[in-house]
């Protein structure tokens, strides 16, 4: 099977030849090319070269031309702060006062050089990979974007205290996200990863999700012309997993803060799961710890398909060593082959 077949099979809740691995080490592309993160993300060509090298080296089952979340904020007129050793972050809020929302207009995808760079990277990868390897593109959900547009504290206040303005903001953001996601699909992306961690029960209670984030997701995903996966960026989601499935998404990125076996039971053929390696802890893993973490995830998530092995955030920290990424790759090769006969008799040496 090639990567595309492997991924489609598992998303159909069947067992492919082996567990697919999404090794989302996008920043490591800069390391491969010996560039700073700022320089790396300044040109589509770098990201194409970087992603191709990462695919060669680690054999991930997808290409991941995700630059950084704040790139969308650049389209809205904001700026990005780069640093040498970590992900770029968004600068000052573009919505300074709540009243700014009343005249807010979604930016056009065509007029943003930053967004165009991503589209160019996707098109270049598509040319090289054809339909052998899925290209996973990212759109921040209209419901999670405001944390970067206006700050988390003011956004929580807006949600609770100014419902009309909140809806107005969602309208503008939904328009943008739909156009942005569809442009990426048109450029050659196979699927859209819809990052929506504000919807996570880490951040808002289920009752609020059902009247806000879930409604936004239903409306938005219905207008995105391709398959989607919803990512909680390591926020919790067990109490709302079924509600997320109801938005029409194919897979959910879950959190190491919750029990993976319980998540698997709750997903039960309705959605596939993406997870569940701890990217932050990964920085300190020994080869033995790496193998154990991979075995644990496969044992809980693998049987029956509906499972893609990945880190639980959707981005592996820059600090994680290449050796650890290679050890993940090796462990999947060793323990991820279906049928997963070893799982039945396997006893976790250190359950906790």
């Amino acid at each position: 099977m090639n990567s595309m077949q492997r991924v489609l099979t598992t998303l159909g809740h069947k067992e492919p030849d082996r567990v697919p691995l999404f090794l989302l080490a996008n920043m490591h592309g800069a390391k491969e090319l010996g560039l700073s993160l700022r320089d790396y993300y300044a040109s589509a060509k770098n990201v194409i070269d970087g992603e191709m090298r990462l695919l060669d080296k680690y054999g991930s089952d997808c290409a991941y031309p995700f630059f950084y979340a704040s790139l969308e904020i650049e389209a809205w007129g904001g700026d990005t702060i780069f640093s040498a050793d970590g992900p770029p972050l968004c600068g000052a809020p573009v919505i300074r006062r709540a009243e700014d929302i009343d005249s807010l207009r979604p930016p056009a995808v065509e007029s943003s050089p930053a967004l165009q760079r991503v589209l160019e990277a996707i098109a270049g990868l598509k040319q090289r990979l054809a339909d052998q390897v899925p290209i996973i593109a990212v759109a921040i959900s209209p419901f999670s974007l405001p944390v970067m547009q206006m700050g988390f504290d003011r956004y929580i206040e807006l949600m609770h205290e100014q419902p009309d303005r909140f809806l107005r903001l969602m309208q503008a953001n939904e328009e943008f996200t739909v156009n942005w996601a569809n442009a990426q699909l048109a450029a050659g992306a196979t699927a859209i990863c819809y990052f929506d961690p504000v919807s996570s029960t880490t951040n808002i209670p289920r009752g609020l999700y059902l009247t806000t984030g879930q409604q936004v997701a239903k409306r938005t995903l219905a207008r995105i012309k391709g398959p989607t996966a919803t990512h909680m960026a390591s926020g919790r989601c067990l109490p709302i997993l079924g509600d997320i499935a109801d938005t029409g998404t194919a897979a959910v990125g879950v959190s190491i803060l919750e029990d993976f076996a319980q998540l698997k039971a709750a997903a039960a053929g309705r959605v596939s799961l993406l997870g569940n390696l701890n990217g932050i802890e990964m920085r300190r893993w020994t080869p033995a710890q790496t193998e154990l973490a991979v075995k644990r995830a496969i044992a809980a998530g693998g049987p029956g398909g509906g499972f893609i092995l990945a880190d639980n955030h959707g981005e592996i920290p820059f600090q994680v060593a290449d050796e650890t990424l290679l050890a993940i790759r090796d462990a999947v090769d060793r323990w991820g082959r279906y049928p997963l006969d070893w799982v039945r008799d396997w006893v976790d040496p250190d359950p906790s």
Binding site: F152, E157, P239
Partner: protein
């Protein structure tokens, strides 16, 4: 009392300000302001923090509840009130990051629990070390959201130590939640998983510090 704490906590979680205020006012009619704060608000916020950590309460509830409690405490215990705790000089800072919500929640909950502390806003390592030394800070609370910022706590701790500061450092924020061994690695003296933990840590240190 524990019934009242539960009721107060439930009214905070459901954002029922009127009910929360009524319960607090009722407590005030029977005891001193500081006793009402310590007997009702502090335990309710601590419980909410613990519930957030185990997944049954959401951050939006912790934030809105903490902000409201801060207002209640402000009304009955103005900043200069001598009943506010006699505590070691303390400060809170957001290290290197731009995401201030974690720090803001911890600051609210500390103040809602009757503590006074400097709010340093956002600082980088050198600025923080100089300022903490100049202010003779004894308890430093550091909040971060990004992993590289969490790793920079190591520089703060080693520089403070090298300059002989008599200071304890407590850290918190997402990277410390995901890697339970990280706080020791960076040389902090304690790690808190929620804003309530910050109160508990400082309360415990107060007993040990002259």
């Amino acid at each position: 009392m524990s019934d009242l704490i539960t009721q107060f906590r439930e009214s905070l979680e459901s954002l029922d300000r009127i009910r929360a205020e009524a319960i607090f006012t009722d407590a005030l009619s029977r005891q001193s302001p500081i006793a009402a704060v310590e007997g009702l608000i502090v335990p309710a916020l601590e419980q909410m923090g613990a519930a957030w950590h185990e997944g049954s309460v959401a951050l939006s509830q912790v934030y809105m509840g903490g902000r409201f409690c801060e207002e209640l405490v402000e009304r009955v215990l103005p900043p200069s009130d001598p009943d506010r705790k006699h505590q070691p000089r303390s400060a809170i800072v957001l290290l290197n990051d731009y995401h201030a919500l974690g720090k803001r929640i911890v600051y609210s909950v500390m103040r809602a629990s009757g503590y006074e502390l400097f709010d340093y806003g956002r600082m980088d390592v050198d600025e923080l070390v100089e300022r903490a030394l100049a202010d003779r800070i004894r308890v430093l609370l550091i909040s971060v959201l990004m992993l590289p910022s969490a790793l920079k706590v190591a520089d703060v701790c080693s520089q403070l130590k090298a300059r002989g500061a008599d200071i304890r450092v407590a850290v918190g924020g997402a990277p410390f939640l995901f890697d339970g061994g990280l706080w020791r690695e960076v040389g902090a003296d304690a790690m808190g998983r929620s804003a309530g933990d910050a109160v508990a840590i400082v309360a415990a240190w107060m007993k040990e510090m002259p």
